[in-house]
Symmetry: C2
């Protein structure tokens, strides 16, 4: 195992343990709701947001125990967005991470409620995190609400994406959609780690910039995989962006130019990282890992 | 106008003004999302939760300005639950407060996102409420998350309600569903007002008990109105509980015995109120108003 693989394995184990504590047992009433939540949360997600939160947190010297609940909260927000995104009225997807989507397994009504309450549990996890000061908790809650909300966060990005479907979309619009739909939560996860570690404002600015670049890179490589991979490899339905006439990089630039663009963003991200006067190997490795998905 | 009507008018005006500040403008992108949120938030709701929050807050001496954002937050959580409850996969309702439901007006996908982000805005409103200390904000966030979440809050109650549809339901089950689905948020709203006012723990216990009784009374009278009123009077589709074979008081007890039960709960609530050594006229009047809906 490489050092990065070891890091991811440890993060996954640690964060999953906290998630298991934060989410009511599948045996507790209403059982169906808790089973649905657990179905989606424990379905082999890559835990990219927790990993970035930990990487940024460690870079600036945070203790592991101070990062755990926030990492779990970001993963819960991410999972709620996937559950609602997959619904028939949204992307209408049957497959996620190689398994039936939440609504296929538990019905639409339960899937809506499971997503709703995962968001609630995420805010609760941070509000009640006794390892952090009251001020830090409030900062993180505010950050998470902005990153996942509207007008500049994830849900707003999903609405922009819906509005753009079937229309000719400009590259500036696609960039905004990507930045909000995926980038904002990824970027905020890294910021959260740095905030918990007590990074200075100028350090936070650099982290935000790096994480935004990584978030964009993640969405671009996701778009590329949707075009170039088979459903079996991807674990979710491939080719659906084009089928839905979604706004994507490959849709405008084509596959080859998108690869060039991804490489340029990766280079920018590495330059940004150079501005942090700490050991940034972990943050760099995560960026590399995301980039390598398309090779 | 009676004193209670004046109180409600003032609360509605004040809270609506804060809601208008907390929710992005309908002209801000993504416009459709913000229009959908505003469609549902500003649709003539009675603002019962804000009213109870203010009534409890004033009873224990809170300043109006300290109660406003929390009151708006409770109303946003309530509205998100109505938007999602009305969805085709849930109650499939076309009418709410005499207007088209959010998904009928803006489409299902936008309605899902509007509900999602109203929840986010609610937590953000409290996290960023500078009129309150950091400790009070965290207490309120925790209270709101428990009251609206799972296993003992609103979303869990909605799941229990779903699970009970079409089944023979025991009165103890109906009571739990009612307590969680409607009661928990109503009860928490009153608690929030008392917390902001700095009420003692023993005072909070009494407020919680009173508010739980009021919450149950509210749901029972709601069930009765569903049976006895026309759709035009009700502003939402009447008779749908029976049509959906929902677990209700009138469904088990019949209309007359349910009225008797409502009266008994009202008497209990008044007795509870007698334990608070303050001027509780406002809290009493709100309870009376809820009871009078069925006369």
């Amino acid at each position: 195992m490489t050092a990065l693989e070891e890091f991811f394995t440890k993060i996954r184990n640690d964060v999953d343990k906290v998630l298991d504590e934060l989410i009511p047992s599948a045996a507790a009433a209403p059982e169906r709701l808790h089973q649905a939540i657990r179905w989606s949360v424990f379905s082999g997600g890559k835990r990219i947001r927790p990993a970035l939160l930990f990487a940024a947190g460690r870079t600036f010297g945070a203790a592991n125990g101070d990062l755990l609940r926030s990492a779990a909260a970001f993963e819960m927000i991410h999972t709620y967005s996937l559950i609602h995104d997959d619904l028939p009225a949204m992307d209408n997807d049957d497959l996620r991470r190689g398994k039936a989507t939440c609504h296929r397994q538990f019905g639409e009504a339960t899937a809506i409620l499971a997503g709703d309450v995962l968001q609630t549990l995420a805010f609760k996890a941070i509000a009640e995190d006794r390892s952090l000061s009251a001020e830090v908790r409030l900062k993180l809650l505010s950050l998470l609400a902005d990153a996942s909300g509207t007008p500049f966060g994830m849900v707003a990005g999903q609405q922009l994406d819906l509005d753009a479907e079937g229309k000719a979309t400009l590259m500036t619009d696609i960039k905004r959609i990507h930045r909000q739909k995926t980038g904002s939560l990824i970027s905020a996860a890294a910021m959260a780690g740095a905030i918990i570690a007590g990074a200075t404002n100028s350090e936070l600015e650099v982290v935000e910039r790096y994480a935004a670049q990584i978030g964009l890179l993640f969405q671009i490589t996701d778009d590329l995989l949707d075009v170039t991979q088979l459903t079996t490899t991807l674990g979710k339905t491939a080719g659906k962006d084009a089928a839905a006439n979604k706004a994507t990089y490959p849709g405008i630039y084509g596959v080859e130019k998108t690869r060039v663009e991804a490489n340029a963003i990766r280079k920018d991200a590495l330059e940004t990282l150079g501005l942090i006067l700490k050991d940034t190997a972990l943050l760099r490795d995560i960026g590399d890992m995301i980039f390598k998905r398309i090779r």
